[in-house]
């Protein structure tokens, strides 16, 4: 059995920098993995080191969310991991990728779990990439809290690895610093 689905770069739009990978599952669901040079990554985009190397990643399917099979397709996370590796290799391991776990349908935790699955299903990937997540809990009452998640990936061979990690963590700390 193949370890992941075959995939292709279906679009590489030089005008807006978006890179789109595409694969088809055994259930005939077509997925796009989209790397966007992150117009919405504004909280770290002013970094000189990050410069144009910051990308968001999104997974989109060609079916509605209610049509997605409930059964787990183990090849999907493995395919996404392979796509992430391919994306990094073609860019000399320089990009910093991050994933915002959208709260639509209150599924942000499920999306965070998927991000963890994509990035931890391959031991090699875990060895070669720094993968971190931030969970911010806005505590309302004991029963109710609003949760926000985002994850980010930096290749360990990135010459600015440590600086980038510190920079992102500093931005996150700044964001959560209490107002005086």
């Amino acid at each position: 059995m193949e370890e992941f689905y075959s995939f292709a770069v279906s679009e590489e739009n030089s005008a807006n920098g978006i890179v789109r990978y595409n694969f088809l599952t055994n259930s005939s669901i077509e997925y796009d993995v989209i790397f966007d040079p992150s117009s919405y990554a504004f909280f770290i985009e002013e970094s000189e080191i990050l410069g144009s190397h910051l990308f968001s990643v999104d997974l989109v399917a060609n079916i509605s969310i209610t049509e997605i099979p409930k059964t787990i397709d183990k090849l999907i996370p493995k395919t996404i991991t392979r796509i992430l590796i391919d994306f990094y290799e073609k860019r000399d391991h320089i990009p910093v990728i991050f994933f915002v776990c959208d709260r639509a349908n209150k599924k942000q935790l499920a999306r965070h779990r998927k991000f963890r699955l994509w990035t931890t299903c391959s031991p090699d990937f875990c060895l070669n990439y720094t993968i971190e997540s931030l969970e911010i809990v806005l505590d309302q009452t004991e029963e109710d809290a609003d949760r926000f998640y985002f994850g980010y990936i930096i290749q360990k061979e990135n010459p600015h690895h440590d600086i980038l990690l510190n920079e992102i963590n500093s931005k996150a700390e700044l964001l959560t610093r209490s107002l005086k």
């Binding site: 077509e30 989109v60 060609n62 915002v100 639509a104 993968i131 931030l134 809990v137 505590d139």
Partner: protein, 46 residues
């Protein structure tokens, strides 16, 4: 994989700042996806 969890207490004024930040982040993400979907078969943000 390291997960850093930050809990912001009720009534802390930073809550609004965080919420506004993520609402804007999510909206930009959805706008970007919508633009991509306009010329594509994709329907769902997974």
């Amino acid at each position: 994989m390291k997960v850093t969890k930050i809990v912001i207490a009720p009534n802390n004024p930073i809550q609004k700042r965080i919420r506004d930040f993520f609402v804007e982040l999510e909206q930009k993400k959805r706008d970007n996806i919508a633009k991509i979907r306009a010329n594509s078969k994709v329907k769902t943000i997974d």
